[in-house]
Protein backbone atom coordinates (compact mmCIF):
# COMPACT_ATOMS: atom_id res chain seq x y z
CA UNK A 1 0.00 0.00 0.00
CA UNK A 2 1.30 3.40 -0.98
CA UNK A 3 1.87 6.17 1.50
CA UNK A 4 0.90 9.61 0.19
CA UNK A 5 1.51 13.00 1.74
CA UNK A 6 -0.58 15.97 0.59
CA UNK A 7 0.75 19.47 1.31
CA UNK A 8 -2.04 21.91 2.04
CA UNK A 9 -2.27 25.58 2.93
CA UNK A 10 -4.96 27.76 4.40
CA UNK A 11 -5.15 30.99 2.43
CA UNK A 12 -7.18 34.19 2.50
CA UNK A 13 -9.86 34.09 -0.15
CA UNK A 14 -8.29 36.65 -2.44
CA UNK A 15 -10.72 35.87 -5.23
CA UNK A 16 -13.92 36.92 -3.55
CA UNK A 17 -13.18 40.26 -2.07
CA UNK A 18 -16.50 41.46 -0.79
CA UNK A 19 -17.44 44.97 0.23
CA UNK A 20 -16.69 44.16 3.87
CA UNK A 21 -13.06 43.53 3.08
CA UNK A 22 -12.57 46.80 1.25
CA UNK A 23 -11.34 49.74 3.25
CA UNK A 24 -12.59 53.24 2.57
CA UNK A 25 -9.42 54.09 0.66
CA UNK A 26 -10.07 51.26 -1.80
CA UNK A 27 -7.44 48.90 -0.39
CA UNK A 28 -8.06 45.42 0.92
CA UNK A 29 -8.40 44.67 4.59
CA UNK A 30 -6.63 41.33 4.64
CA UNK A 31 -7.80 40.42 8.11
CA UNK A 32 -11.41 40.60 6.96
CA UNK A 33 -10.98 38.02 4.22
CA UNK A 34 -12.35 34.55 4.93
CA UNK A 35 -9.71 31.80 5.17
CA UNK A 36 -10.15 28.87 2.80
CA UNK A 37 -8.49 25.64 1.70
CA UNK A 38 -6.12 26.68 -1.07
CA UNK A 39 -8.10 25.66 -4.18
CA UNK A 40 -5.41 23.69 -6.00
CA UNK A 41 -4.44 21.87 -2.78
CA UNK A 42 -7.95 20.43 -2.93
CA UNK A 43 -7.08 19.10 -6.39
CA UNK A 44 -3.94 17.54 -4.91
CA UNK A 45 -5.99 15.92 -2.16
CA UNK A 46 -8.54 14.68 -4.68
CA UNK A 47 -5.74 13.06 -6.67
CA UNK A 48 -4.44 11.37 -3.52
CA UNK A 49 -7.90 10.03 -2.76
CA UNK A 50 -8.27 8.83 -6.35
CA UNK A 51 -5.01 6.90 -6.02
CA UNK A 52 -6.30 5.49 -2.74
CA UNK A 53 -9.58 4.44 -4.39
CA UNK A 54 -7.76 2.72 -7.25
CA UNK A 55 -4.82 0.94 -5.64
CA UNK A 56 -5.16 1.51 -1.91
CA UNK A 57 -3.12 4.10 -0.06
CA UNK A 58 -2.66 5.81 3.25
CA UNK A 59 -3.32 9.52 2.79
CA UNK A 60 -1.63 12.03 5.11
CA UNK A 61 -2.44 15.72 4.87
CA UNK A 62 -0.09 18.18 6.53
CA UNK A 63 -0.19 21.93 6.73
CA UNK A 64 2.14 24.51 8.15
CA UNK A 65 0.26 27.49 9.48
CA UNK A 66 -1.37 29.15 12.45
CA UNK A 67 -3.64 27.15 14.80
CA UNK A 68 -6.75 28.12 12.87
CA UNK A 69 -5.44 26.13 9.89
CA UNK A 70 -6.92 23.19 11.77
CA UNK A 71 -10.08 24.02 9.79
CA UNK A 72 -8.61 22.78 6.52
CA UNK A 73 -7.32 19.61 8.19
CA UNK A 74 -10.84 18.86 9.33
CA UNK A 75 -12.05 19.46 5.82
CA UNK A 76 -9.40 16.98 4.61
CA UNK A 77 -10.70 14.42 7.10
CA UNK A 78 -14.26 14.98 5.85
CA UNK A 79 -13.08 14.31 2.30
CA UNK A 80 -11.33 11.09 3.25
CA UNK A 81 -7.80 11.74 4.52
CA UNK A 82 -6.51 9.06 6.90
CA UNK A 83 -4.04 11.13 8.91
CA UNK A 84 -3.50 14.84 9.34
CA UNK A 85 -0.91 16.98 11.10
CA UNK A 86 -0.78 20.65 12.01
CA UNK A 87 2.74 22.00 11.87
CA UNK A 88 2.69 25.13 13.91
CA UNK A 89 5.22 27.11 15.89
CA UNK A 90 5.72 30.81 16.44
CA UNK A 91 9.27 30.33 15.25
CA UNK A 92 7.91 29.40 11.79
CA UNK A 93 6.29 32.81 11.31
CA UNK A 94 7.14 34.89 8.25
CA UNK A 95 8.79 31.98 6.46
CA UNK A 96 9.46 32.40 2.75
CA UNK A 97 9.37 29.42 0.40
CA UNK A 98 12.87 28.25 1.30
CA UNK A 99 12.16 28.13 5.05
CA UNK A 100 8.70 26.65 4.48
CA UNK A 101 10.06 23.86 2.32
CA UNK A 102 12.69 23.10 4.95
CA UNK A 103 9.98 22.50 7.55
CA UNK A 104 7.66 20.55 5.26
CA UNK A 105 10.51 18.35 4.03
CA UNK A 106 11.37 17.47 7.62
CA UNK A 107 7.73 16.61 8.35
CA UNK A 108 7.61 14.30 5.31
CA UNK A 109 10.83 12.60 6.39
CA UNK A 110 9.37 12.14 9.84
CA UNK A 111 6.28 10.41 8.44
CA UNK A 112 8.75 8.15 6.66
CA UNK A 113 8.52 5.62 3.82
CA UNK A 114 6.56 8.09 1.66
CA UNK A 115 6.00 7.10 -1.98
CA UNK A 116 4.15 10.09 -3.32
CA UNK A 117 3.90 13.75 -2.33
CA UNK A 118 1.14 15.85 -3.86
CA UNK A 119 0.87 19.62 -3.67
CA UNK A 120 -1.31 22.19 -5.38
CA UNK A 121 0.39 23.94 -8.27
CA UNK A 122 0.37 27.22 -6.35
CA UNK A 123 -1.34 29.04 -3.50
CA UNK A 124 -3.63 31.95 -4.31
CA UNK A 125 -2.11 34.32 -1.75
CA UNK A 126 1.44 34.17 -3.04
CA UNK A 127 1.15 32.45 -6.44
CA UNK A 128 4.82 31.47 -6.31
CA UNK A 129 4.53 27.74 -7.15
CA UNK A 130 7.88 27.28 -5.41
CA UNK A 131 7.20 25.28 -2.28
CA UNK A 132 6.46 21.99 -4.09
CA UNK A 133 9.72 21.89 -6.07
CA UNK A 134 11.74 23.12 -3.08
CA UNK A 135 10.36 20.28 -0.99
CA UNK A 136 11.19 17.80 -3.79
CA UNK A 137 14.76 19.07 -3.80
CA UNK A 138 15.12 18.64 -0.06
CA UNK A 139 13.65 15.15 0.16
CA UNK A 140 15.49 14.05 -2.98
CA UNK A 141 12.36 13.10 -4.95
CA UNK A 142 11.82 13.36 -8.67
CA UNK A 143 9.15 15.94 -9.51
CA UNK A 144 6.50 16.58 -12.12
CA UNK A 145 4.98 20.07 -11.97
CA UNK A 146 1.80 21.36 -13.66
CA UNK A 147 0.10 17.96 -13.63
CA UNK A 148 -3.13 18.42 -15.55
CA UNK A 149 -4.40 14.81 -15.55
CA UNK A 150 -3.81 11.45 -13.93
CA UNK A 151 -3.96 8.79 -16.61
CA UNK A 152 -2.89 5.64 -14.85
CA UNK A 153 -1.62 4.51 -11.49
CA UNK A 154 -0.29 1.20 -10.21
CA UNK A 155 2.06 -0.03 -7.53
CA UNK A 156 5.17 0.85 -9.52
CA UNK A 157 4.49 4.13 -11.26
CA UNK A 158 2.01 6.82 -12.28
CA UNK A 159 1.30 8.11 -15.76
CA UNK A 160 0.33 11.76 -15.73
CA UNK A 161 -0.15 14.58 -18.20
CA UNK A 162 1.90 17.71 -17.68
CA UNK A 163 0.87 21.08 -19.05
CA UNK A 164 4.05 22.22 -20.78
CA UNK A 165 2.48 25.42 -22.17
CA UNK A 166 3.07 24.75 -25.86
CA UNK A 167 2.73 20.99 -25.49
CA UNK A 168 1.19 18.35 -23.28
CA UNK A 169 3.74 15.89 -21.95
CA UNK A 170 2.66 12.37 -21.05
CA UNK A 171 5.04 11.30 -18.31
CA UNK A 172 5.61 7.99 -16.60
CA UNK A 173 7.06 8.60 -13.17
CA UNK A 174 8.17 5.88 -10.79
CA UNK A 175 7.89 6.33 -7.03
CA UNK A 176 9.03 8.19 -5.08
CA UNK A 177 7.86 11.34 -6.82
CA UNK A 178 6.35 14.73 -5.99
CA UNK A 179 3.61 16.12 -8.22
CA UNK A 180 2.17 19.63 -8.27
CA UNK A 181 -1.43 19.51 -9.40
CA UNK A 182 -3.39 22.04 -11.48
CA UNK A 183 -7.07 22.87 -11.12
CA UNK A 184 -7.96 21.18 -14.41
CA UNK A 185 -6.71 17.78 -13.17
CA UNK A 186 -9.95 16.86 -11.40
CA UNK A 187 -12.97 18.08 -9.46
CA UNK A 188 -12.51 17.78 -5.70
CA UNK A 189 -15.14 15.60 -4.07
CA UNK A 190 -17.62 16.91 -1.52
CA UNK A 191 -17.09 16.24 2.15
CA UNK A 192 -18.63 12.94 3.25
CA UNK A 193 -21.58 13.46 5.64
CA UNK A 194 -20.78 10.58 7.91
CA UNK A 195 -17.17 11.66 8.21
CA UNK A 196 -18.30 15.19 8.91
CA UNK A 197 -20.38 14.03 11.84
CA UNK A 198 -17.48 11.98 13.09
CA UNK A 199 -14.80 14.67 12.89
CA UNK A 200 -16.84 17.81 13.32
CA UNK A 201 -16.11 18.34 16.99
CA UNK A 202 -12.40 17.67 16.78
CA UNK A 203 -9.81 20.20 17.70
CA UNK A 204 -6.05 20.09 17.53
CA UNK A 205 -4.36 18.24 20.36
CA UNK A 206 -7.65 17.05 21.86
CA UNK A 207 -7.89 13.70 23.63
CA UNK A 208 -8.67 11.84 20.38
CA UNK A 209 -5.18 12.62 19.07
CA UNK A 210 -6.56 12.76 15.54
CA UNK A 211 -5.14 16.21 14.84
CA UNK A 212 -1.66 16.22 16.34
CA UNK A 213 0.29 19.43 16.62
CA UNK A 214 3.88 19.28 15.46
CA UNK A 215 6.36 21.98 16.42
CA UNK A 216 9.97 22.82 15.67
CA UNK A 217 11.38 20.59 18.36
CA UNK A 218 9.28 17.60 17.28
CA UNK A 219 10.96 17.83 13.90
CA UNK A 220 14.42 18.51 15.39
CA UNK A 221 14.85 21.53 13.16
CA UNK A 222 17.59 24.14 13.22
CA UNK A 223 16.00 27.39 14.35
CA UNK A 224 18.18 29.50 12.08
CA UNK A 225 16.66 27.79 9.05
CA UNK A 226 13.04 28.37 10.14
CA UNK A 227 10.69 31.30 9.88
CA UNK A 228 12.03 34.78 9.19
CA UNK A 229 15.56 33.77 10.25
CA UNK A 230 15.67 31.03 7.66
CA UNK A 231 14.24 33.18 4.89
CA UNK A 232 16.69 34.80 2.46
CA UNK A 233 14.00 37.12 1.13
CA UNK A 234 12.63 40.12 2.95
CA UNK A 235 9.53 42.10 2.23
CA UNK A 236 10.95 45.56 1.85
CA UNK A 237 7.76 47.45 1.15
CA UNK A 238 4.09 46.74 0.54
CA UNK A 239 1.85 48.92 -1.46
CA UNK A 240 -1.87 48.34 -1.72
CA UNK A 241 -2.97 48.56 -5.26
CA UNK A 242 -5.50 51.21 -5.88
CA UNK A 243 -7.38 51.77 -9.02
CA UNK A 244 -5.56 54.40 -10.94
CA UNK A 245 -7.98 56.97 -12.22
CA UNK A 246 -7.04 58.14 -15.69
CA UNK A 247 -8.76 60.83 -17.66
CA UNK A 248 -11.84 59.06 -18.86
CA UNK A 249 -13.67 60.18 -21.95
CA UNK A 250 -17.25 58.98 -21.94
CA UNK A 251 -19.36 58.48 -25.02
CA UNK A 252 -23.14 58.31 -25.17
CA UNK A 253 -25.07 55.44 -26.73
CA UNK A 254 -26.65 57.52 -29.47
CA UNK A 255 -25.68 56.39 -32.93
CA UNK A 256 -23.94 59.72 -33.46
CA UNK A 257 -21.90 59.22 -30.28
CA UNK A 258 -20.95 55.72 -31.32
CA UNK A 259 -19.97 57.03 -34.74
CA UNK A 260 -17.71 59.57 -33.04
CA UNK A 261 -16.18 56.79 -30.92
CA UNK A 262 -15.49 54.73 -34.03
CA UNK A 263 -13.90 57.76 -35.73
CA UNK A 264 -11.68 58.39 -32.72
CA UNK A 265 -10.57 54.78 -32.64
CA UNK A 266 -9.92 54.70 -36.36
CA UNK A 267 -8.01 57.95 -36.32
CA UNK A 268 -5.65 56.91 -33.57
CA UNK A 269 -5.26 53.20 -33.70
CA UNK A 270 -6.11 51.49 -36.90
CA UNK A 271 -3.48 51.34 -39.56
CA UNK A 272 -5.66 51.78 -42.62
CA UNK A 273 -4.59 50.52 -46.02
Amino acid sequence: MKRIVVLAKQVPDTANISGDAMKADGTVNRAALPAIFNPEDLNALEMALTVKDRIGAEVHVITMGPPKAVEILKHALYMGADYVGLITDRRFAAADTLATSYVLAAAIKKIGAVDLVLAGRQAIDGDTAQVGPQVADKIGFNQVTYVSALREVNDNYLIVERDGEVQTEVIKAAYPVLLTVCAEANTPRFPNCRRMLRFFRLDMNDNTGIIPVINMDDLALAEERCGLKGSPTRVHKIKSIMLKGGELKMYGTDVTDIRQLVRDIMKDYVEVG
Binding site: I17, K249, M250
Partner: protein, 331 residues
Protein backbone atom coordinates in the same frame (compact mmCIF):
# COMPACT_ATOMS: atom_id res chain seq x y z
CA UNK B 1 26.43 43.15 -10.71
CA UNK B 2 26.82 40.21 -13.00
CA UNK B 3 23.62 38.61 -14.27
CA UNK B 4 22.86 35.12 -15.46
CA UNK B 5 19.75 34.62 -17.61
CA UNK B 6 18.12 31.26 -18.24
CA UNK B 7 17.65 30.91 -22.00
CA UNK B 8 14.68 28.90 -23.13
CA UNK B 9 13.68 27.40 -26.43
CA UNK B 10 10.14 26.92 -27.64
CA UNK B 11 10.14 23.14 -28.21
CA UNK B 12 7.65 23.42 -31.06
CA UNK B 13 9.21 26.25 -33.09
CA UNK B 14 12.80 25.46 -31.97
CA UNK B 15 13.36 29.18 -31.61
CA UNK B 16 14.03 31.39 -28.60
CA UNK B 17 11.13 32.18 -26.38
CA UNK B 18 10.42 35.89 -26.26
CA UNK B 19 10.86 35.95 -22.50
CA UNK B 20 14.53 35.02 -22.97
CA UNK B 21 15.08 38.13 -25.10
CA UNK B 22 13.10 40.27 -22.67
CA UNK B 23 15.13 39.07 -19.69
CA UNK B 24 18.42 39.42 -21.55
CA UNK B 25 17.64 43.06 -22.18
CA UNK B 26 16.45 43.55 -18.59
CA UNK B 27 19.68 42.01 -17.29
CA UNK B 28 21.62 44.29 -19.61
CA UNK B 29 19.95 47.35 -18.08
CA UNK B 30 20.75 46.03 -14.59
CA UNK B 31 24.34 44.92 -15.14
CA UNK B 32 25.73 47.02 -17.94
CA UNK B 33 25.65 50.45 -16.21
CA UNK B 34 27.93 48.94 -13.58
CA UNK B 35 30.25 47.46 -16.16
CA UNK B 36 29.18 43.89 -15.43
CA UNK B 37 28.47 41.01 -17.74
CA UNK B 38 25.24 39.32 -18.85
CA UNK B 39 25.68 35.58 -19.31
CA UNK B 40 23.05 33.28 -20.77
CA UNK B 41 22.74 29.66 -19.67
CA UNK B 42 21.08 27.09 -21.91
CA UNK B 43 20.62 23.36 -21.83
CA UNK B 44 18.65 21.22 -24.22
CA UNK B 45 19.13 18.86 -27.15
CA UNK B 46 20.25 21.67 -29.47
CA UNK B 47 20.61 25.45 -29.31
CA UNK B 48 17.64 27.56 -30.42
CA UNK B 49 17.94 28.25 -34.16
CA UNK B 50 18.05 31.99 -33.61
CA UNK B 51 20.43 32.11 -30.61
CA UNK B 52 22.40 34.90 -32.29
CA UNK B 53 19.55 37.30 -31.60
CA UNK B 54 20.39 37.27 -27.89
CA UNK B 55 23.44 39.36 -28.69
CA UNK B 56 21.25 42.09 -30.16
CA UNK B 57 19.59 42.47 -26.77
CA UNK B 58 22.63 42.81 -24.55
CA UNK B 59 23.97 39.29 -24.04
CA UNK B 60 27.73 39.13 -23.53
CA UNK B 61 28.23 35.37 -23.48
CA UNK B 62 26.07 32.28 -23.88
CA UNK B 63 27.03 29.10 -22.03
CA UNK B 64 25.38 25.99 -23.37
CA UNK B 65 25.27 22.29 -22.78
CA UNK B 66 23.56 20.23 -25.44
CA UNK B 67 22.68 16.57 -25.14
CA UNK B 68 19.97 14.45 -26.75
CA UNK B 69 18.88 13.36 -23.27
CA UNK B 70 17.92 16.96 -22.47
CA UNK B 71 15.32 17.14 -25.24
CA UNK B 72 12.56 17.07 -22.63
CA UNK B 73 12.38 18.78 -19.27
CA UNK B 74 14.04 16.30 -16.93
CA UNK B 75 13.85 18.55 -13.89
CA UNK B 76 16.75 17.03 -12.04
CA UNK B 77 19.06 17.00 -15.06
CA UNK B 78 18.20 20.61 -15.91
CA UNK B 79 18.81 21.56 -12.31
CA UNK B 80 22.21 19.86 -12.22
CA UNK B 81 23.46 21.40 -15.46
CA UNK B 82 22.14 24.92 -14.83
CA UNK B 83 23.26 24.94 -11.23
CA UNK B 84 26.77 23.94 -12.26
CA UNK B 85 26.82 26.82 -14.75
CA UNK B 86 25.58 29.28 -12.14
CA UNK B 87 28.14 28.08 -9.60
CA UNK B 88 30.89 28.49 -12.19
CA UNK B 89 29.80 32.02 -13.11
CA UNK B 90 29.09 33.28 -9.58
CA UNK B 91 26.58 35.92 -10.65
CA UNK B 92 24.79 38.24 -8.26
CA UNK B 93 21.54 38.18 -10.21
CA UNK B 94 19.86 35.15 -11.81
CA UNK B 95 16.72 35.60 -13.92
CA UNK B 96 14.37 32.88 -15.14
CA UNK B 97 11.25 33.23 -17.27
CA UNK B 98 8.19 32.42 -15.19
CA UNK B 99 7.30 29.76 -17.73
CA UNK B 100 6.31 26.20 -16.93
CA UNK B 101 9.98 25.31 -17.38
CA UNK B 102 11.43 28.22 -15.41
CA UNK B 103 8.98 27.75 -12.58
CA UNK B 104 9.87 24.05 -12.49
CA UNK B 105 13.64 24.40 -12.37
CA UNK B 106 14.35 27.76 -10.67
CA UNK B 107 12.95 26.71 -7.26
CA UNK B 108 15.07 23.54 -7.32
CA UNK B 109 18.20 25.60 -7.91
CA UNK B 110 17.29 28.23 -5.30
CA UNK B 111 16.68 25.44 -2.79
CA UNK B 112 20.01 23.88 -3.57
CA UNK B 113 21.88 27.20 -3.41
CA UNK B 114 19.90 28.13 -0.28
CA UNK B 115 19.09 31.54 -1.65
CA UNK B 116 16.02 33.70 -2.25
CA UNK B 117 13.80 33.41 -5.30
CA UNK B 118 11.07 35.94 -6.05
CA UNK B 119 8.35 34.78 -8.41
CA UNK B 120 6.59 36.71 -11.16
CA UNK B 121 8.33 40.03 -10.74
CA UNK B 122 6.84 42.93 -12.65
CA UNK B 123 9.66 45.40 -12.01
CA UNK B 124 13.34 44.89 -11.26
CA UNK B 125 15.85 47.58 -10.46
CA UNK B 126 19.03 48.04 -8.45
CA UNK B 127 19.54 50.49 -5.64
CA UNK B 128 21.44 50.95 -2.39
CA UNK B 129 20.26 48.88 0.57
CA UNK B 130 21.47 49.73 4.07
CA UNK B 131 25.20 48.95 4.23
CA UNK B 132 25.02 46.24 1.56
CA UNK B 133 25.67 48.56 -1.37
CA UNK B 134 23.57 48.04 -4.47
CA UNK B 135 21.15 45.14 -4.49
CA UNK B 136 18.23 44.00 -6.61
CA UNK B 137 14.76 45.31 -5.79
CA UNK B 138 12.07 42.93 -6.97
CA UNK B 139 8.48 44.11 -7.24
CA UNK B 140 5.66 41.61 -7.58
CA UNK B 141 1.94 41.49 -7.11
CA UNK B 142 0.73 39.22 -4.32
CA UNK B 143 -2.46 38.44 -2.58
CA UNK B 144 -4.35 37.82 -5.78
CA UNK B 145 -2.97 41.06 -7.17
CA UNK B 146 -4.33 43.24 -4.39
CA UNK B 147 -0.93 44.32 -3.16
CA UNK B 148 2.37 45.10 -4.77
CA UNK B 149 5.29 43.92 -2.68
CA UNK B 150 8.93 44.90 -3.04
CA UNK B 151 11.11 41.94 -2.11
CA UNK B 152 14.84 42.00 -1.47
CA UNK B 153 17.43 39.31 -0.80
CA UNK B 154 19.95 41.25 1.28
CA UNK B 155 22.38 38.61 2.50
CA UNK B 156 22.28 35.71 0.06
CA UNK B 157 23.68 35.38 -3.43
CA UNK B 158 22.68 35.05 -6.12
CA UNK B 159 19.47 37.06 -5.93
CA UNK B 160 17.05 35.05 -8.05
CA UNK B 161 13.82 36.13 -9.72
CA UNK B 162 11.32 34.90 -12.27
CA UNK B 163 9.43 37.14 -14.68
CA UNK B 164 6.48 36.29 -16.88
CA UNK B 165 6.60 36.59 -20.63
CA UNK B 166 5.43 39.95 -21.96
CA UNK B 167 6.14 41.86 -18.75
CA UNK B 168 9.56 43.34 -19.55
CA UNK B 169 9.79 45.49 -22.63
CA UNK B 170 12.18 45.07 -25.51
CA UNK B 171 14.24 48.04 -26.69
CA UNK B 172 13.34 49.92 -29.86
CA UNK B 173 16.89 49.65 -31.19
CA UNK B 174 19.06 46.57 -31.36
CA UNK B 175 22.46 46.35 -29.74
CA UNK B 176 25.42 44.87 -31.56
CA UNK B 177 27.31 42.68 -29.12
CA UNK B 178 29.70 40.16 -30.66
CA UNK B 179 28.35 36.60 -30.66
CA UNK B 180 30.17 34.56 -28.02
CA UNK B 181 28.96 31.04 -27.32
CA UNK B 182 30.84 28.64 -25.08
CA UNK B 183 30.17 24.98 -24.59
CA UNK B 184 29.96 23.98 -20.94
CA UNK B 185 31.25 20.53 -20.06
CA UNK B 186 29.64 18.46 -17.34
CA UNK B 187 29.70 14.78 -16.43
CA UNK B 188 26.19 13.82 -17.30
CA UNK B 189 24.68 11.22 -15.03
CA UNK B 190 21.81 9.03 -16.20
CA UNK B 191 20.35 8.88 -12.70
CA UNK B 192 19.20 12.46 -13.32
CA UNK B 193 16.71 11.10 -15.85
CA UNK B 194 13.92 9.95 -13.59
CA UNK B 195 10.84 10.65 -15.69
CA UNK B 196 9.97 8.79 -18.85
CA UNK B 197 8.43 10.98 -21.56
CA UNK B 198 6.01 8.66 -23.30
CA UNK B 199 4.32 11.07 -25.63
CA UNK B 200 4.49 14.77 -26.52
CA UNK B 201 1.30 16.31 -27.83
CA UNK B 202 1.82 19.78 -29.29
CA UNK B 203 -0.92 22.21 -28.41
CA UNK B 204 -2.35 24.11 -31.29
CA UNK B 205 -2.01 27.67 -30.23
CA UNK B 206 -3.79 29.91 -32.66
CA UNK B 207 -3.72 33.15 -30.80
CA UNK B 208 -0.79 35.45 -30.23
CA UNK B 209 -2.26 38.01 -27.91
CA UNK B 210 1.04 39.46 -26.79
CA UNK B 211 1.93 40.57 -30.31
CA UNK B 212 -1.41 42.19 -31.14
CA UNK B 213 -1.75 45.96 -31.47
CA UNK B 214 -5.45 45.81 -30.71
CA UNK B 215 -7.13 43.31 -28.41
CA UNK B 216 -10.91 43.08 -28.19
CA UNK B 217 -11.95 41.10 -25.13
CA UNK B 218 -15.31 39.78 -24.04
CA UNK B 219 -16.39 38.85 -20.54
CA UNK B 220 -19.30 37.29 -18.73
CA UNK B 221 -21.42 40.24 -19.87
CA UNK B 222 -21.35 38.93 -23.43
CA UNK B 223 -23.95 36.46 -22.22
CA UNK B 224 -23.45 33.40 -24.39
CA UNK B 225 -21.27 31.74 -26.97
CA UNK B 226 -23.46 32.95 -29.82
CA UNK B 227 -23.09 36.61 -28.81
CA UNK B 228 -19.33 36.19 -28.61
CA UNK B 229 -19.43 36.39 -32.42
CA UNK B 230 -19.75 40.15 -31.93
CA UNK B 231 -16.41 40.26 -30.13
CA UNK B 232 -14.75 38.29 -32.92
CA UNK B 233 -16.28 40.52 -35.57
CA UNK B 234 -15.16 43.67 -33.83
CA UNK B 235 -11.64 42.27 -33.49
CA UNK B 236 -11.59 41.31 -37.15
CA UNK B 237 -12.90 44.69 -38.28
CA UNK B 238 -10.14 46.41 -36.32
CA UNK B 239 -7.42 43.96 -37.33
CA UNK B 240 -6.97 42.86 -33.72
CA UNK B 241 -6.96 39.67 -31.68
CA UNK B 242 -9.74 38.25 -29.55
CA UNK B 243 -9.24 38.18 -25.78
CA UNK B 244 -11.46 37.09 -22.92
CA UNK B 245 -11.93 37.24 -19.19
CA UNK B 246 -11.71 34.05 -17.20
CA UNK B 247 -15.46 34.14 -16.62
CA UNK B 248 -16.01 34.07 -20.39
CA UNK B 249 -13.63 31.11 -20.66
CA UNK B 250 -15.25 29.31 -17.73
CA UNK B 251 -18.69 29.76 -19.28
CA UNK B 252 -17.34 28.19 -22.45
CA UNK B 253 -17.80 31.25 -24.66
CA UNK B 254 -14.25 30.85 -25.94
CA UNK B 255 -11.13 28.73 -25.51
CA UNK B 256 -8.71 29.20 -22.64
CA UNK B 257 -5.77 30.39 -24.77
CA UNK B 258 -7.64 33.66 -25.32
CA UNK B 259 -7.70 34.44 -21.60
CA UNK B 260 -6.12 37.69 -20.49
CA UNK B 261 -5.02 38.21 -16.90
CA UNK B 262 -3.12 36.79 -14.02
CA UNK B 263 -3.61 33.22 -15.18
CA UNK B 264 -3.77 34.05 -18.88
CA UNK B 265 -1.72 36.20 -21.21
CA UNK B 266 -0.27 39.55 -20.30
CA UNK B 267 -0.95 42.07 -23.06
CA UNK B 268 -0.08 45.69 -23.60
CA UNK B 269 -1.60 46.61 -26.94
CA UNK B 270 -2.09 50.10 -28.29
CA UNK B 271 -5.83 49.66 -27.73
CA UNK B 272 -7.65 47.25 -25.44
CA UNK B 273 -11.41 47.04 -25.71
CA UNK B 274 -13.09 45.40 -22.71
CA UNK B 275 -16.67 44.39 -23.49
CA UNK B 276 -18.84 43.16 -20.62
CA UNK B 277 -15.83 42.79 -18.35
CA UNK B 278 -16.12 44.09 -14.80
CA UNK B 279 -12.37 44.64 -14.40
CA UNK B 280 -11.51 42.45 -11.44
CA UNK B 281 -7.94 42.69 -10.23
CA UNK B 282 -6.92 39.36 -11.80
CA UNK B 283 -8.11 40.52 -15.18
CA UNK B 284 -6.47 43.92 -14.81
CA UNK B 285 -3.16 42.21 -14.05
CA UNK B 286 -3.05 41.18 -17.70
CA UNK B 287 -4.13 44.37 -19.46
CA UNK B 288 -3.62 47.39 -17.24
CA UNK B 289 -0.52 48.49 -19.10
CA UNK B 290 -2.37 48.83 -22.40
CA UNK B 291 -1.80 52.25 -23.94
CA UNK B 292 -5.51 52.98 -24.28
CA UNK B 293 -8.43 51.13 -22.78
CA UNK B 294 -12.00 51.35 -24.01
CA UNK B 295 -14.62 49.88 -21.70
CA UNK B 296 -18.10 48.92 -22.82
CA UNK B 297 -20.22 48.00 -19.82
CA UNK B 298 -23.79 48.50 -18.75
CA UNK B 299 -22.83 49.08 -15.12
CA UNK B 300 -21.50 52.62 -14.56
CA UNK B 301 -19.96 51.42 -11.29
CA UNK B 302 -17.88 48.64 -12.90
CA UNK B 303 -14.23 48.95 -11.75
CA UNK B 304 -13.04 48.73 -15.34
CA UNK B 305 -14.04 52.40 -15.75
CA UNK B 306 -11.46 53.34 -13.15
CA UNK B 307 -8.64 52.34 -15.46
CA UNK B 308 -10.31 53.04 -18.81
CA UNK B 309 -9.50 56.02 -20.99
CA UNK B 310 -12.68 55.79 -23.02
CA UNK B 311 -15.97 54.45 -21.85
CA UNK B 312 -19.46 53.78 -23.00
CA UNK B 313 -22.22 52.74 -20.67
CA UNK B 314 -24.77 50.44 -22.20
CA UNK B 315 -25.64 47.03 -23.60
CA UNK B 316 -22.79 45.68 -25.70
CA UNK B 317 -25.28 43.75 -27.82
CA UNK B 318 -26.68 47.05 -29.03
CA UNK B 319 -23.47 49.06 -29.11
CA UNK B 320 -21.15 46.69 -30.96
CA UNK B 321 -23.43 46.19 -34.00
CA UNK B 322 -23.57 49.95 -34.44
CA UNK B 323 -19.79 50.17 -34.12
CA UNK B 324 -19.41 47.46 -36.74
CA UNK B 325 -21.69 49.32 -39.12
CA UNK B 326 -19.70 52.55 -38.81
CA UNK B 327 -16.38 50.74 -38.98
CA UNK B 328 -17.36 49.33 -42.36
CA UNK B 329 -18.35 52.81 -43.53
CA UNK B 330 -15.10 54.37 -42.39
CA UNK B 331 -12.85 51.94 -44.18
Amino acid sequence: MKSVVFIEKNPVTKRLRNVSLELTYKAYTLSHPQGSEVVGVFCGEALPEDSDRLFQFGMDRLLYHTDQRLAQLHSLAYKQVLEAMIRAEKPEIVLFGATHTGRDVAPLIASSLKTGLTADCTQLYTDEYKDRGKILYQMRPAFGGNILATIVTPDHRPMMATVREGVMLLPEEHLQNPVRMEEFAIDFNDIWLKSEFMEIIPKVKKVDLAAANIVVSGGAGVGNRENFRLIRELARALGGEVGASRAAVDFGFIEKDHQVGQTGSVVRPKLYIACGISGQIQHRAGMEESQKILAINKDPEAPIFNIAHMGIIGDLNEIIPVMLRYLKEEV
